[in-house]
Symmetry: C2
Subunit: 226 residues, 2 copies
DNA sequence: TAAAAAATATGACATTTGTCATATAAATGC
DNA sequence: GCATTTATATGACAAATGTCATATTTTTTA
């Protein structure tokens, strides 16, 4: 079993507040998991009795809308924690988590997290700040969905993917979303998303090679996103 | 100066966890304010060094979108606290708060809140749960904005206003929003909002008397909202 | 590797929504 | 109480977006 003391990703999450002792203890409680691309980590409505720490890979958090379509609420990656909100609320998770690529995650049982919570003030403060950050992000996102056009949202989302997850050696976006997923992130029909991508391509803003998307004119995309 | 020990609204917020002693102390630190309809409590980007406790009245939390329009992110009412997120994040507030009716609010300085935070575990847990609840609500809202039509959102919003804030003796919605505000809540143009209200009226779902809105057929509205 | 399935792409068209113009009603200031 | 401003309402039209059909490409599976 791998040791949390030696795990680098903990430095990027609330767990960075844990002491050496706490980390040693954590190593014994946590379980490690490999998750293949497309596999479900947890599903909306499930009781997840703890949190996941993402060691490697990216996943999408989705919510089923009443009309039956999935909406991607957020992407979560290496170093982040999953399931904090529902653990604190003592409710089932309100979102599903699905791997977008092969992942390595560790599961930390609730009892363990709660004991850190009680004893380590810095840890609980970190968790709170993360959730507050998520809330602010959600507010921003909400306003964008309400006030921006689909074209603006697509441009913005492409830039977000570029800035947050970086690019491959060939300069294409590192996180590969299907057109369908991209559409469910910006809140539009798949066909509209495909059409706008074609438009962007014709305008020389991006390049499309199969599933790969390459941003060619970032400053023009920024103008488009307003 | 009014006494927090005798204030009933504290029972409805995280402050319910405070002890008698803490409440006595709070009474000395807090300041009471009367805010007239339309007045600004705080503005996006401002540094608010503490939180507001709403003793009476309702306000809107808005965010300016890049295109210059205000979007109403949330309505907040009697018993709720304002400004918790930004206090914890140690950031300026990301939303503006404007009174929708005459209000009574108390301001509690940050130092005071933080000392409760450190010493009273139940209080900090309450705050966390509130923020987690807000986050879940924001996720739901996001999916609605992304996936539902304007008509569905209007129906849903009318029902929300009805269920959350109740109605007057004449059965009209208690919270009176202008068409403009209603539109900026559901994320559409004012004209579209007005037009749909007219449609709803013609369908016998609602009644319009000046600014007043009266829900006549709640079950049909529910079907419309999906 | 061939066949089947799924994803991407595009056209044609309907529907929804936004914009601008203008009319009417209500609220506000003097 | 009247004039002025602001809010509500509606028509006409344009633009954005969704839906359905279908072709093409890519991926998966047997």
């Amino acid at each position: 079993m791998s040791k949390c003391e030696q795990c680098i990703v903990r430095e990027f999450s609330s767990l960075k507040a844990l002491s050496k002792n706490e980390l040693v203890h954590l190593s014994d409680c946590k379980t490690s998991h490999t998750i293949k691309k497309g596999e479900v980590i947890f599903e909306e409505g499930e009781n997840v009795n703890g949190i996941f720490c993402i060691k490697d890979g990216v996943c999408k958090l989705t919510k089923l809308s009443p009309n039956g379509k999935d909406h991607i609420v957020k992407l979560v990656t290496k170093g982040e924690l999953l399931g904090q909100r529902s653990m604190i609320s003592e409710e089932p998770v309100n979102l599903s988590a699905v791997a977008l690529e092969d992942m390595e995650v560790c599961f930390i049982p609730k009892s363990e997290v709660m004991s850190f919570f009680d004893k380590n003030n810095q840890f609980s403060m970190n968790v709170m700040k993360t959730i507050c950050g998520d809330l602010k992000e959600a507010d921003d996102h909400m306003v964008n969905l309400a006030q921006k056009t689909v074209k603006e949202r697509l441009a913005e989302t492409l830039l977000y993917l570029h800035d947050t997850f970086g690019k491959n050696e060939d300069n294409s976006l590192k996180v590969q979303l299907s057109r369908d997923e991209l559409a469910s992130m910006i809140g539009t029909a798949t066909e509209s998303c495909i059409r706008l991508l074609s438009d962007f391509k014709k305008l020389g803003l991006i390049e499309l090679t199969g599933k790969k998307i390459l941003l060619k004119d970032i400053s023009k995309l920024k103008k488009l996103a307003e």
